[in-house]
Amino acid sequence: MRTTAARPRGVLTRLLELFLLPVLLIALWWAGSASSGNYYMPTPDVIAEKFREVWISERFFVDVLPSVGLLLSGFALAAVVGVALGVALGLSPRARAVGEPVLEFFRAVPPPVLVPLLMLLVGVNTPMKLAVIVSGCVWPILLNTIEGVRAVDPVLADTCRCYGIRGRRWLTTLVLRSASPQIMAGLRQGLSIAIILMVISEMFASSSGLGFSIVQFQRSFAIPEMWSGIVLLGLIGFLLSVLFGVAERYVLGWYRGVRAASRGE
């Protein structure tokens, strides 16, 4: 990627690179769906029309916003719990040795199987969905934080000790900072699991929300509406990933600088 970016290129090439393939694919889809007349494969204009009709309405506030809010609050909660616990466990080798097999087990449980259990325990409501999201996406965050914290450069740790850097400053300037590449990797994994779980918890047991609506459309054979829901979910996933990328660039700016410097660029 570096080599291609280094070459000076025109705006036109850049635009072509960005849009050529997507446009081609949509055109292919259009041609394919229009000629086959397949009931399950509506043409893009029908989907776009339904998208406007279904989602750009009060449904956006009733179904979409609460779902996204749920997703984000679950993810934030998992991030706080995961990083806090991860730092604690990462700093204490003994606690880590005790906890490791148990953590490995919990991480290996596919998160969606907790949905039926939590439905029975908590009931079908918002706390249940929140619990599902947190219980699923906390593991990659927790385990990556542990790894990041234990990989803190010992020389830097000694330097901090020599200069008497302790407490909060030590935590924020040394521990969290040097663990941040791993923490961000964990958060990224956690985010995609959070989306999956948000949808699953709504598909399974809910009377509102994005996941519920999509299943509802499918059951009533409202195919273009169902497709528009899939597209919306895709857009949400894409948007969150872009936002995360921006946040990551901001948080890890120093790290990319260090890496580039060590490569001698």
Partner: protein, 270 residues
């Protein structure tokens, strides 16, 4: 997540047996807590049956043929889905990764498709294939493909330019360069992709069975839940967790074997 085990500064504490002992203590502690909470009344036994009861239920299940048929279905769908995703991702990753121009044209599409949650495809899968194994495969392949593909792309891009130039100077052809230069540099990335993909594939396999109702452990859990048999639900969750642990350890062993020559693994012996 795998390779820091013996290289970290605190390796002294976790030396061998001691570490295993502490780990066992952790597991035992959890089991005792799980047994005690419902027994002393701190948790409602209707909602949290004691560990021993769940163990007995699980034991009973282990003796039955339905359980093993479900495990077989789950493992088969997982393995098949992962294999398809792996093959497609490696072939496409090498083809597109080694042609920077093509890669530039595909990046925007990949970056758009990748974050689409594969559960969004559940309704489509139901419509197309019903509860057939193919609907499970659709989700699993979609989810696992991107994990592996992205890693392969990074791996192919990470080839040491000096090594590549050297190979060219010695007159190695395109295929030979792929075999002796690109493949070894991409392999660590590929194995990481396989590990991530395997975990995601298992999650999606169970999810599909749970939500769509294709046969397997997920479906068993859904059935147990709808009949209100909570100890069954717990027992099956423990079983899926155990399956997950097996998958993780298996893939890690494979990773260590395939990368014996690589410094990240060789370093572990020190």
């Amino acid at each position: 997540m795998t390779r820091t085990a013996n290289t970290s500064p605190d390796a002294a504490v976790g030396a061998g047996a001691n570490r295993a002992l502490l780990g066992a203590a952790g597991v035992a502690g959890l089991l005792v807590l799980w047994e005690a909470l419902p027994r002393i009344g701190a948790a409602d036994p209707r909602y949290l049956p004691p560990a021993s009861e769940v163990a007995i239920t699980l034991g009973g299940r282990l003796g039955g043929a339905t359980f093993w048929a479900a495990v077989g279905d789950t493992v088969a769908a997982w393995a098949l889905g992962l294999a398809i995703a792996f093959a497609a991702a490696v072939v496409l990753g090498f083809l597109i990764g080694s042609a920077p121009r093509v890669r530039a044209f595909t990046t925007s599409t990949v970056e758009f498709l990748r974050p689409i949650p594969s559960v969004a495809l559940i309704p489509l899968a139901i419509l197309l294939y019903g509860t057939d194994i193919r609907s499970t495969l659709l989700l699993v392949v979609y989810a696992a493909f991107w994990q592996i593909y992205i890693q392969v792309l990074y791996g192919v891009a990470d080839v040491d330019p000096v090594a590549d130039q050297t190979a060219r100077c010695y007159g190695l052809g395109r295929m030979a360069r792929i075999r002796y230069v690109v493949w070894p540099s991409a392999l660590p990335y590929l194995m990481t992709g396989l590990r991530l993909g395997a975990a995601v594939a298992l999650v999606l396999t169970v999810t599909a069975q749970l939500v769509i109702g294709s046969p397997g452990l997920g479906q068993e859990i859904a059935v147990a839940r709808s009949s209100g048999a909570l100890d069954e639900v717990y027992a099956l969750i423990v079983a899926t967790g155990a399956l997950g642990v097996l998958v993780n350890t298996g893939i890690r062993a494979l990773e260590r074997r395939a990368l014996r020559w690589h410094s990240s693994v060789r370093g572990e012996a020190l």
